[in-house]
Structures are given as C-alpha cells and as structure tokens.
Amino acid sequence: MGWPVSQRTVQQLVDAYYEALYRYAYRLTGSVADAEDLTQETFCRAQRHWHQLREQHRVRAWLFGILRNAYRHRLRDQRPQRHVAIDCVGDLPDPGSDPASTPVVEIDPNELQRALDELPEEFRTPIILYYFDNFSYRDIAEQMDLPIGTVMSRLARAKAHLRRLLVPSPVLSEGQRRATDGL
C-alpha cells in the first residue's frame, strides 16, 4: 500500500518532468506508444511509491530511475532484440587517425534513433542521459548503479559508435572504414 501524496504535488511533478521523461522514454524505446505508456506508468509508480523518495531534491533522478526500471522490466518480457555485439560498439578513438576536417552537419533525429536502437541497453541508457541536459558522469553512474569508470568507458564507446554512423568524417583510414562496414 502506498502513501497518499497530495494531488497538487503530483500535478507539479507532472508539469515539471513529463516532457523530459517522455523524450527519455522515446529515445529508449524508439516508439511513440511505448514511450507514452512508460511515461504514464512512471508517474503512477511515483504516486504509489511516494514514500520511497528519500531526498526531495533528487526527484528528477528518482523519476528517471523509475522509468528505466519499468523499461528494463518490459525488455525482459520481450523477445531478444537485434543489437550489435558489444565488442563492435566502437573502441576508444585511435590516436593515430587524422582528425576530421569537415564541419558537422545537423544530425537527423530519426537516424539518431536508428543508431540508438542498435545499441544494447547498457550502452543506450548512458548515452541518452549524457546528451540530455545536466546529467553528469556521476549522475549516470548513480542512475545505473555502476562505477564511474565503467560509465565513462561505455560512454566513450557509445559516442564513437554514434559518431561513426552519424557524423560525416571523410578522412577515415582504410582500417576504420572496414570496421564501420560491419555495423
């Protein structure tokens, strides 16, 4: 049995976070219907488990955590998805390669979604949080309950994956081009 929380408080919570939570859910799932459902479920769980919120000032991290748990719960019930093997998810940048010299063009949000869908959840979650405002490495580490070093290395690899797919870089070496072809 949950604790009652005033309707006014819940409404303030919705107003402050529903858009950010929806965007997060959409980037996690790649589906409008799933994202909406996850967002609604997140607020329902928050209302029901209000007593579990220990620190009022961490309410945003708490809500994002609820959403991620709900999402992972659903993932377990679904068929395995096609993801790239973790080994292929970008290595750290090769210090010997030439830096790209063309200006960055805008990235198509839909292409970004396709690139995200290819990533396993443990890489997708940190990279989404990273590019959302104000999530520090420490925030992400707490959110995922991982050491900060693990988060940083997953992020570096996920970023390399996104850049290779989305950011034009005409001065790739032969070796890098081959590595990218497999994805």
């Binding site: 005033s6 309707q7 919705v14 858009e19 607020f43 949000p109 590019y131």
Partner: protein
Amino acid sequence: MDCRTARLFLAFVRPGASEFDAADAAALEEHLADCPECSLLAEHQTRSDAALHRAMNAVSVPEGLRERILQRLAASRRRRLWPAAVAAASLALAAALGYGLLLPSPVAFDLEHEVFHQSSQLGMEPEQVEQVLAAQGIATTLPRQFHYLSLIHFGLEEFHGQRVPFLLFLRDGEWARLYVVDQRHFDVQALMAQTRADSGGCTVEVIPGPPGTAYVVVYTGGSLARFLRAAPPAT
C-alpha cells in the same frame, strides 16, 4: 601532454562540465593551443556533441499527453482510496440524518488535502499532530482514543464546502478517514443524533468531541476497534 594523452582526454571531456581536475584540464588546454591537429579534432568533437545533443532532444511530445497522464493518475488514486462503497455509505448516513448535503460528494473528497510532514509524521502522538496543525494556523482538538501509530496522513480536507482537519489511519489493509467538524460550520447536534450508517463494506460513524465538535469517521473493515488504543470491551 602528448597527442596520445590529449586524445584520450578528448574522448571523455565534456564542454562546460568539470569532470577532470584543474591541472589535467589546464595541460589539455595547453596542448590544444599548440597542436593544430588535436585542436581541430577537439573542435570537431565539440560540434558533433552539440549536434547530437540537439538531435537527442528533438523529440516532439504528443498532444494531450499531460492530460492523459493526469487522468490516469486520478483514476489510480480513486481506485486506491475511494471505493464506490464509501460514496454509498455517505449517502446512507446523509439519508439517515436527513441532511442530504451534509456529507461530501466523492468528487470533492478525492484526497484534496494539504500534505504536512510527509515522512516525519510516523509515530506522532495526537499532541504532536495538534502542534503541527497549530503551527499551520489550525487550532483543533484531536480524539485521544485512536491508535496514532497507524496514522499515515493528516492535514486539511474539503468537507461539505469547508476545509476541516483530517486524519487518515491505515491498518491491516483497512482505513479510516476522520474529519473534525465544529458547530461554527456544521449542525453538530443533529449529526450526533444519528451516529452510525453502514453500506457496502464501509461505515460512517459520528463520535462526539469536545463541546461543539464532533468527529466524522468513514472506515472500512466493519469495526473501528483496530484503529483504537484499547481492545473493545467484550460483549
């Protein structure tokens, strides 16, 4: 700092964030100032990060989502603490009393009370609850016979158009909602003439308070005993 180290740092650096210590950040800055290749790479990264940030946030939020969320939340609140049976019990008491408007409608009744001390109210004695209410400008005398360990919430709630002191007890999966009414706003004498009504699993009971006041208690479970300090006398 050499190019190799600089590029490792670049893989982790985040514009506007201070994830590294000042000495490392300064060494990187120094290298970038001297090395056109690394500084080009850094600039490229900054721009692609900015583009990824924009694309990541470029998700349009569906029309009406906020309202649908609020509706679902309201529905789940009603399911939890406002079974239809309570409405029926309220009507039964109201009919018995001949005061059709005396008891609140379920709509006005839907947990619209103020929240005080969400987490610190556990284990409070009635005197302490009175003090907290007094600090909010609400002078009231609460019943002493209740078991305050099962008090999970208190505050003000709408009761027949008045905001009145309100307690919510929860025990063994049953609950009791207690409203303090006084003669400035309610006909307390008439209320006390009829003291109990049952309907569909819910009971409404009127308990006399200090002169000029009464406690209206709506509860589930068929008996108030579980919410009271002492076991009821054997009959």
